[in-house]
Amino acid sequence: MALRARMRWRLRQPSVVPGFGLALGVTLTWLTLIVLIPISGLLWRSSGLGWGNFMALAFDERTVNALTISFGTAFAAALVNLAFGVILAWVLVRYRFPGKRVIDAMVDLPFALPTAVAGIALTTLYAPNGWIGSLLEPLGIRIAFTPAGIVVALVFVGLPFVVRTVQPVMEEIDKEVEEAAATLGANRLQTITRVLLPGLLPAGLTGFALAFARGVGEYGSVIFIAGNLPYVSEIAPLLIVIRLEEFNYAAATAIATVMLFLSFLMLLVINTIQSWSRRRYSNGA
């Protein structure tokens, strides 16, 4: 009897707490109105283009260039953030130094500072007559108005992701693991590279993927510093805006659909990394 009751399919497990219907109803209604209908509208419009037309628009030379630039610069920026983010997290977790609290709080600045503000500030700094730009100019290095400028903006935007995913994992590291490695004769460098860093890999990869995904779609901070030269420093979100301003809705829809598809793919990768790391690292924990 009890078994049969448990086997019966139900939408939800019984509970004495009321309000399931109301809460789920509000959630689904709001989700449908704000997110699902608008996104389906985009996909529906995109499917209305027809396959041949869609492929022609999505793989137009300028579009492919813009997508390549978006993904390439986001990848480079995420790599920079992975390297420096792990160091920054390590320093914040392990060492004491004056102003540490402030630095820790400041890591979230890119989440709080509007992207347009970051964009004009970075452009002012890295322009040939700016503080940093004028230092680099004699060396023949130009950052602003080149793809390198895009990377700088995306490093800013993605900075918190790696730090904030790696930091809590570092805090959880058991000191005994390091002591065990030391007793077994590992020197400090070996302990870090063979024992500590492998354990941080899933968190680091998650942070990398989050920073990368954010960078691909970023618009506000990039458009000021990029120079926006077609085929050279024009990012995909900007090309969508340009096509919209030309009332070329078909092209804007096609580019957006490709970007949407690629970001879902990224989401899938992130989820896979996380479930893989749960399987691999949470055994016995």
Partner: protein, 295 residues
Amino acid sequence: MALDTGSASNTTLPNLVKAATSETRLARATLIAVALGFVGLFLLLPLATVFIEAFRKGADEFLSALGDPETFSAILLTLTVAGIAVPLNLAFGVAAAWAIAKFEFKGKAFLTTLIDLPFSVSPVISGLVFVLLFGANNALGPILQSYGVQILFAVPGLVLATVFVTFPFVARELIPLMQEQGTSDEEAALSLGATGWQTFWHVTLPNIKWGLLYGVLLCNARAMGEFGAVSVVSGHIRGETNTMPLQVEILYNEYNFVAAFAVAALLALLALVTLILKTALELRYSHEIAASRSH
């Protein structure tokens, strides 16, 4: 500089072991220098630039830039849009967290993924979907227009785009928190004869108030600072549909740098206040805020 030696017990151990469980002084100093250099170059310097540029020609110029009527209407519009969008997402966030955290039901993981969806969509696409939905060449736009309802290039469009972009913030903060708290408090209240609403107002809400505030804080910061999505639906009508970030762009592109940075400084101030409140909440109420710090 007081550098941590790794752990307190190290000082009593022989030198060999000490070297093996903590880095050398030189390595520590180098790592700290690299980290601080990175933070300084990418975070502190841009932030300082905003304020330096805003006050480059003195406080009078700064104030007169803010006194401009177009800028003033941009400030008002930003407050209006955030004032509508944030409460909407607050109500949604509480409802979603109630359903997801307090009950076990089929498709819960899928629903959670859908709620997170707006985070993985480019801001420009977030605006584009509403242009496609309400644009002049679509079904809905002309129908609404015939009833005198203007969505695009008007406040409703700005609110919709902002709600879309800030959709997950409150829910994401509350779900892990309420999951951690479980349902035993609510069950106790209910068994003592409280009604559902009484339980919510007197038991659940006090339990989640700091987490709620935390979510609202982040939601508001994003709502006021959103650029890409709002830019696409705004139409850039001066003095009418320009929010503060859009006003920054317009002033900057007109080479009116002092005015652009003056508005930017206000937004940067908002970001700083957000960070300070956020840090204070984390320090004081760390147990009453969801454990996850990344968002």
